[in-house]
Symmetry: C2
Subunit: 511 residues, 2 copies
Amino acid sequence: MATVRSRLAHSVKLATRHTKTRSFSSTSQYGSDTASTTLSIASLLDRGPADPNNVCVNGFVRSVRSQKRRSFVDLGDGSTLEPLQALLSPEQAQSLSTGTAVRLKGAWKESRFPESQTHELHVTAIDILGSSDAATNPIQKKYQTKEFLRTIPHLRSRTPFNSTLLRLRSDCISEITRFLAAEGFTQTHTPIITSSDCEGAGQVFHLESSHKGPISEHDDGTFFRSPKYLTVSSQLHLEALAQSIGNVWTLSPTFRAEKSDTKRHLSEFYMLELEMSFVEDMSVVMNVVEKLVQSITLPLLTSRVGKELLATRTRDGEETGESSEWLRDRWLAMKGPWPRITYTEAIQILQTSGINFTNTPQWGLGLSIEHEQHVASVFKKPVFVTQYPRDIKPFYMLPSRESTDMGETVDCFDLLLPEAGELVGGSMREHRLDPLIASMRSSGMIPHGPPEFISDEQLGSLKWYVDLRRWGSVPHGGFGLGFDRLLGYLAGVQNIRDVNTFPRWVGRCEC
Amino acid sequence: MATVRSRLAHSVKLATRHTKTRSFSSTSQYGSDTASTTLSIASLLDRGPADPNNVCVNGFVRSVRSQKRRSFVDLGDGSTLEPLQALLSPEQAQSLSTGTAVRLKGAWKESRFPESQTHELHVTAIDILGSSDAATNPIQKKYQTKEFLRTIPHLRSRTPFNSTLLRLRSDCISEITRFLAAEGFTQTHTPIITSSDCEGAGQVFHLESSHKGPISEHDDGTFFRSPKYLTVSSQLHLEALAQSIGNVWTLSPTFRAEKSDTKRHLSEFYMLELEMSFVEDMSVVMNVVEKLVQSITLPLLTSRVGKELLATRTRDGEETGESSEWLRDRWLAMKGPWPRITYTEAIQILQTSGINFTNTPQWGLGLSIEHEQHVASVFKKPVFVTQYPRDIKPFYMLPSRESTDMGETVDCFDLLLPEAGELVGGSMREHRLDPLIASMRSSGMIPHGPPEFISDEQLGSLKWYVDLRRWGSVPHGGFGLGFDRLLGYLAGVQNIRDVNTFPRWVGRCEC
């Protein structure tokens, strides 16, 4: 025992010695080893350096212009759209080209061309951290088409506009997390691998595993004993959690194995889904949608990312077409209150519009994208369209208390955006056991027969979902919001493939 | 044209009318339709009601005790571990049983038993929102084993302790998001469907799609034209983003198709991964780990969730075994600074420990869980172990500048926790092109030969990763943290299946 103790004492001594001799700075500036002086370019441009004669900055060369006696370098580090302007000797600039990674040291001085930037860095020392062959670099100083950039998602984020999109995404996640926590919502992690297809439709990705052969004598040789899919929605799992702890949400990857080759669809995308319990009035759910989307949109009018998004509108070679006023107006149109009309009213608006739609608007059919865009354009604002016909909506939606002259409807809503169409879909959920089973029967999901004879086998992969209605089920409702679509809308990016960081669609999964 | 205009005017008028007549309250209390008086139980217990004579609360019955002239109900709504105590007439309580969902209205009065709770609700009106058959309800008032609860993850969150775990998860995500945003890190969304297996080892889930037959004449009939997997790590994609915009992170689902049937492994789990660029000193990366983990641990000493986790220690039927002092000490041990020792020193500590380990500790072999636990127990704190032998680590790690007498090492670290073992693994990455290719060769990932003859085909699904070293590559490093493991550690939950909300492991994917 004495021996063990003395060995332990030796171990502690050995380890303690090394703890003490090993220095580890506890600076809050993690970005660099030269913590005291290194700033991001965004910080430097915003606030200036602590010591103007001792500035150190890291980044990638965006462009080099050399004159006889001096060279001008535009440097970016992904922290802002604006480059840092640096002044070097032609010798210092000799081995620089687009993409070279450098560490520059020097003095922060007033610019001789204050119309472009107030200060510039007069470089005294340069470290080449990573060289770049301009001839082969796929990211050139000049404009690259969006189509080309989609083939190199691993390098695309090096362009200034794509770095802005990444910062927009980050800012929006932060703000949503803050907003929903303040409102008392619990953020949850719902599963990716699931047994059921929520919508009862749509193509799903199936899972295999590299595990071969049976796991035990009782299984069929698959990893999970039965077929599994990649989730198409977190709604069902959120309903389980909402019935336990109240208002919940998740921002989760979602999948569709659809062949849709459009501007609006991806095989993998992020959905923000939210579920509220003890709620009978759907307007309460719509209020959350409205406040949530406003909470991330209106800050853009003053934030750095917002300014950058507007600035790209006046530049060559970036998201072109529409002006910065157009984008600002899009954000301003987000101010509330947002109109709420029924599906029946939307059909009336479409039918009396005098427009010759490709698909004739008709009660009982879904709204096509041209319909959605027209309805939202009438109001020049986001519009909630509620109470769609029951026959065109999924089994889990709660029937409306009053039906229309045209037929039965459900308590659901879509949020339509001007120029873009659907962003959000939500509904009240059928929380009563027998009507839910009846709805599953009439949707053809389970065989017909009296409720008391329903078996676990018949319910199959939805047994657990039906279970939620058995012991203390309460009125509840929620929604799903296409997060990548929202970011594209806020950024004025037309194609979802240009706003998703590593887009996957049919035939395309680049890295 | 006049006709179109008048139709449009009609549409707007129609829609506007409905916007105006449709009321939608813009209360910030989304939890209920009776917004003015409904509070969560947590709010009510913490702050009391605005009007003590007009209280409305929603929840699920946890227990009913009936005496001759009155009944006592414990009500929970998932917002806190503590139940609300309600006083009813036996008639009011007649149809209540464990799990019944109710809305109670009444007066908030001082309790006659203030040692348990200061106030109780004297119920004047009760709405049964959802009945519950106590005889069949799998969630009983009495204790259920953890093993049984794992078979019903969709109902498990209804138990008080599991609702605390959900709130712990939410609080931790919020705090991490806030902390890393304040430190200038960009939150990103890395892909789930990937082409490559980061570690070059481990079982991966393969993807199929329900799409059958060729998509075009040029493909092989698979959805993405080539085999795809569920990601085992976001590291490679984070490296791409860090080389563009600096310090980045993600909290993302991660997958392993391993047959491990242990307390520490799942097939699907959340990893927090982070990557920093322009960093040469690994201690900078370890500083982030330390501050990040502390940022979510130390608030537990005073937060509601922290108090609840301690309270469950003294209760029957919940996470048992160790005391609340034990759990508080675990949190207090997180205070810094954390020791940092090398792998070589760790081996010395193990070899001189006098302990008869199942696996004999030996330089050149990995540390087993018993080794990790012993090393951390010596320090009674989280410990960083750095510079592992090169031969037992993945190809992408940067070789240490100095080798040991025993052999070559890499700049990597594991964070070991007392009693739990590894929580975090990180490293500096090989950022130089030729050494990276040499390392891929010696790992057997690509054929041998001179660097200049390496072809895109040979690099295969890692071509894009190698590309990152071609144009302005900079020193960088990062880490991955097992988020579910961390939550389990903080909560004192021994088995990861009890802290992950919908756990999946070999043969098990319940809903």
